[in-house]
């Protein structure tokens, strides 16, 4: 199964992954409109953590036995039967934050609305997720991992 891997020795902390993630998850898919016009403003699902000189991008790990799915109170967090990815149904999310409590990576974010969570979906429809495709130093890689 393919996953996004972060290489902290290659990350320069430019946060372009956050920018491209936000745009990819916006309505307009346009960088200016996404940042300036969309209300609520879309949220990047990847978060760059920085503690100079180290930095790297953190996004959903799509764990094998995901604590967030087991803990989800509403049934919004489920494993997709077809691709094995952890998918989140924002329509069903009750915004209780239980998944945030049990995520070992701190990789689930509160949506800007403050009512639901937002998570990495590995950019359905794209061959390579937007954060990986637009990382200038290959600090994010999309590759097969063995569980």
């Amino acid at each position: 199964m393919k996953r996004i891997i972060a290489k902290e020795e290659a990350c320069i902390g430019c946060r372009l992954c956050e920018v491209y993630c936000l745009v990819q998850h916006s309505k307009s898919k346009d960088i200016i409109k996404a940042y300036k016009r969309e209300n609520p403003r879309p949220l990047s699902r990847v978060r760059v953590e920085e503690n100079r000189p180290f930095s790297f991008g953190v996004q959903r790990r799509h764990c094998e036995d995901p604590p967030c799915v087991i803990a989800c109170l509403s049934g919004a967090m489920q494993i997709d039967e077809e691709n094995g990815l952890v998918m989140h149904d924002a329509e069903k999310c009750m915004g209780c934050w239980t998944c945030i409590m049990v995520c070992p990576y701190g990789a689930i974010r509160m949506d800007i609305s403050g009512k639901v969570v937002a998570k990495c979906d590995l950019c359905p429809g794209l061959d390579v997720p937007a954060c990986v495709a637009n990382c200038p130093n290959e600090a994010l890689m999309y590759q097969e991992v063995t569980p």
């Binding site: 902290e8 953590e49 503690n51 790297f56 239980t98 945030i100 409590m101 701190g106 403050g114």
Partner: protein, 424 residues
């Protein structure tokens, strides 16, 4: 004869069905459930009452969950007794269902104290959807409700009622609301927003009597507190907690204290009989012992572990602990483990910024995290929870745990790689 019989079709029962079917696609499964609703999320009944969630949104699994998992369901039925010699469960109406493996996931029932007048029309409990529906039918702008109990359920129902423009008073026995799950600083934050939303809070008091209405003594007209203070109201909600529903095992050799005792494989003392959820006393990883933990995620996890073990895939239960993620009036709070610490043997790290409604607290014992509270900025609380659950020694980096830039990146690289496999 059914290979697997599960009594209870909520969080635990559903978890067990999913685990069993992962391993055994053909063994017969029977689920006995008193409820006739499609499987729904009980923690969402307050959102249902407030009008924020319709029934459709509350469905914990899709409508075809039982069929897809080839489960024979007996809904609207109650298991009344257990015959361990015959290895069967007897239902209301006298039918007997034999089992090879049995899971008791009967949950809890609300504690109803003996209060004079407590049987009047307009007195509710609040643990399942039928309660929420009953209460929803009584809602009317400006009506007055008294909620007995300022715990998780009481505050949830109070929030829902005030959102429906009712006038609400919470009566709490102890000196502060949410005292079992939050420390005083955090419950103060919640109390403030609740009061701002118009809810009255009375602490250190119990309800002595429910009064009738002047024109109809069978209907609720008010309550009298222990200090003889009278609060007029139209509804009373009793929300002082739940106790395990252990009726099924009464008179059997299944060992029970307050709940049914299970080991790290969710087994009771009787072979092939398992228990999980609100009815069980299972492992707590902070306490390092068994306790009641009537919490939805704990029930679901316990059900999964029971299911794996019932089907022969030996799986150890990692345990749960007191853990609450809260969203009262849109203030995010995560609190887990030991939150109040009077003893000197604990070390406490605190970062409190009241002006921004931010609060972080970590409780340590011998450099191992045993408790945590996060208010406002909660996105990285899961990393702390992970340390707590895995009893990681944090001596080298504990001061950073409550800093604003705390994250995977501030951890020692070796630990980060070992625990999280980031950057490999």
């Amino acid at each position: 004869m059914s290979k697997y019989v599960i009594v209870g079709g909520s969080a635990g029962g559903i978890g067990a069905v999913e685990a069993i079917r992962e391993v055994d696609p053909v063994g017969t499964i029977t689920v006995i459930s008193e409820e006739t609703f499609p499987q729904y999320s009980r923690p969402m009944i307050a959102d249902y009452l407030s009008g924020e969630a319709a029934l459709e949104r509350m469905k914990y699994r899709d409508d075809h969950f039982w069929e897809k998992n080839r489960v024979q369901t007996l809904t609207g039925r109650r298991a009344v007794s257990l015959d361990l010699d015959e290895r069967c469960v007897e239902l209301d109406g006298g039918d007997k269902i034999s089992f090879e493996k049995l899971l008791i996931a009967t949950g809890g029932k609300p504690i109803i104290p003996k209060i004079e007048g407590g049987d009047k029309d307009g007195v509710f409990t609040f643990t399942d959807l039928s309660n929420a529906e009953g209460l929803a039918a009584e809602l009317e702008k400006g009506k007055r409700a008294v909620v007995i109990g300022g715990g998780l359920i009481g505050v949830s129902v109070a929030e829902a009622l005030v959102k429906r423009e009712m006038k609400v008073t919470i009566v709490e026995l102890k000196d502060r609301i949410l005292n079992l799950i939050l420390d005083a600083a955090t419950s103060d934050i919640v109390e403030k927003v609740i009061r701002e939303a118009g809810v009255s809070i009375v602490t250190g008091r119990t309800v002595q009597r429910v009064l009738g209405r002047r024109d109809d003594d069978n209907a609720v007209g008010g309550v009298v507190l222990a200090n003889d203070e009278e609060i007029p109201c139209d509804l009373v909600v009793i929300a002082i907690g739940v106790v395990p529903r252990t009726e099924l095992i009464v008179g059997t050799e299944v060992k029970v204290k307050r709940g049914i005792i299970v080991d790290r494989f969710m087994r009771t003392n009787v072979p092939d009989v398992y228990a999980c959820g609100d009815v069980a006393e299972a492992y707590d990883f902070v306490l390092d012992g068994n306790r009641l933990l009537p919490l939805w995620p704990v029930a679901h996890l316990g059900g999964r572990v029971a299911g794996y073990n019932m089907v022969g895939k030996k799986t150890e239960y990692q345990g749960g602990t007191v853990m609450s993620a809260l969203k009262y009036f849109d203030i995010p709070i995560i609190s887990a483990g030991i939150t109040t610490s009077e003893s000197d043997s604990y070390e406490v790290l605190i970062d409190h910024r009241p002006e921004r409604k931010l609060y972080k607290k970590i409780v340590l014992k011998n450099n191992v995290i045993v408790g945590m509270t996060f208010v406002g900025d909660i996105e990285k609380a899961g990393i702390i929870f992970h340390f707590m659950k895995n009893r990681v020694n944090v001596r080298e980096f504990k001061q950073g745990l409550i800093s604003e830039n705390f994250g995977l990146v501030t951890l020692p690289a070796s630990l980060r790689k070992k625990l999280f496999m980031v950057g490999n």
